[in-house]
């Protein structure tokens, strides 16, 4: 069904409130439909404007969001997108991100409910990233850009309001994370010396796509001194071998973000695959960096084929295979890169933006009704 007025006549599909910003926000907080910040009231007119960019039936779930396994219908998503401050033209990309993060390999149940501090990171590639002005340069991770801030926030609101990731109930994160407010960026394809991330992941360059990763916040890699690519890669690799990382115990697929200046230095002597191989070989820690109990109870069990009786100088790798490492170029000027560890028990998912008939979308206008 795609008649909003008719759908809103169904019992429980809408809520009456005084036409007062403060009263509506108080009601939302009381209901728990909140990330703690004020929301834009999701009036019928605003939700209708959002759904003008939806080519699916408004009442048909596009995914079920764990841990509540709540049905993510376009109608519900539109209300959350309004609440987050999205422009209606953001809606197709927002729906795509929700669909992608609900695919099984990401293990959204684990990402949402774990005590770990991960959140779904969304990296946008392709022409729609430019069309929507998703920041990929200076301060890509915020603040300052409406698309990054509001689409990311709309994702979190859906994860809470539809998925039930309510702190200390469905979301058991020991710390939570600033990334749980909003965590969406675009790749800086114009400044990258390599093919984009979505092409690495098997999609055509002309596609617009999202890659979702169950990720920690970025950890900075400062290298202002290395004069060549190998030096930059050594510094990145040295940052990746972390004793407290989930990734070292899984066949995880973490992310290396290179700032454009570091990427240019690396690309002068490394292909992207060469860089991946170098990082896999050099990103490690020695067994001696782990506690006696971690060696006994985890290393000897997890790596029983290779490290049943480990010596202190045996190596534990940050990434088990070169092909498991994702590399993206993001950011503005400056001699920085970043390492983004993951939840470990999660795999990235990439999905292309397609219209309801299965064609690759060239623009968000392809989704516009009427």
């Amino acid at each position: 069904m795609s008649n909003l007025a008719q759908m809103l006549q169904t019992a429980g599909s809408s809520i009456e409130a005084d036409d007062d910003f403060d009263a509506i926000n108080a009601l939302m907080r009381e209901k728990g439909w909140s990330d703690g910040l004020p929301i834009v009231p999701p009036t019928e007119a605003r939700v209708a404007a959002m759904l003008a960019y939806c080519d699916r039936p408004f009442d048909q779930p596009i995914a079920k969001i764990a841990p509540r396994w709540g049905e993510a219908t376009p109608l519900r998503l539109a209300a959350n997108a309004v609440m987050a401050g999205c422009q209606p033209r953001y809606f197709p990309l927002y729906m795509l991100a929700i669909e992608a993060m609900c695919e099984e390999p990401l293990n959204l149940y684990g990402v949402q409910a774990t005590t770990h501090l991960c959140a779904p990171l969304v990296i946008v590639n392709g022409p729609v990233a430019r069309e929507l002005d998703i920041n990929c340069g200076h301060n890509a991770f915020g603040p300052g850009h409406q698309a990054n801030a509001s689409i990311g926030r709309a994702i979190r609101l859906a994860l809470v309001n539809i998925g039930g990731a309510i702190p200390a109930l469905g979301d058991m994160s020991t710390f939570g994370s600033p990334a749980k407010y909003s965590y969406l960026v675009a790749e800086n394809e114009a400044e990258s010396p390599w093919q984009p991330l979505h092409v690495d992941r098997g999609f055509p360059a002309e596609a617009s796509a999202v890659t979702v990763i169950g990720a920690e916040c970025p950890h900075n890699v400062n290298d202002h001194e290395s004069l060549d690519g190998e030096g930059v890669l050594m510094t990145i690799a040295g940052t990746m071998g972390i004793a407290g990382s989930n990734d070292i115990y899984y066949q995880a697929q973490p992310l290396v973000i290179m700032g454009p200046e570091h990427a240019k230095a690396v690309a002068a002597s490394f292909s992207k695959d060469d860089a991946r191989r170098f990082l896999q070989q050099h990103a490690h820690l020695t067994v001696s960096k782990l506690s006696r109990d971690n060696i006994e109870r985890r290393v000897r069990v997890t790596f029983k084929d290779r490290l049943a009786n480990p010596r202190p100088d045996d190596l534990i790798y940050a990434v088990q295979r070169p092909e498991d490492l994702l590399i993206a170029v993001i950011g503005g000027a400056g001699k920085h890169s970043a390492f983004v560890p993951t939840f470990g028990a999660t795999l990235p998912v990439t999905r292309a933006l397609k219209t309801v008939d299965g064609r690759l979308a060239k623009s968000v206008e392809d989704f516009r009704r009427g």
């Binding site: 841990p67 509540r68 396994w69 409910a113 039930g164 200390a168 109930l169 469905g170 058991m172």
Partner: protein
């Protein structure tokens, strides 16, 4: 676990205190709100093997009681 419960087997989830509400919510989501949740002391990680055994000893009579109730 929910499927085992639905098949009529005596089933229980053992969890530590802070995870009780999550377990209850998941039981409702999967259509088995009556699924027994046996609560043991927190935490489960970062404890020595004798403490692990103590958790098991805490859980065992709870499960035995459940079995007894179900078979009566």
């Amino acid at each position: 676990m929910a499927n085992l419960q639905k098949r009529g087997l005596t089933t229980a989830v053992i969890c530590s205190g802070p995870f009780l509400k999550l377990g209850q919510a998941q039981a409702r989501v999967f259509g088995v709100p009556e699924l027994p949740l046996l609560v043991i002391p927190h935490p489960l990680g970062g404890i020595a093997i004798d403490q692990v055994k103590a958790r098991a000893e805490h859980a065992l009579p709870l499960f035995a009681k459940l079995l007894k109730e179900k078979t009566q």
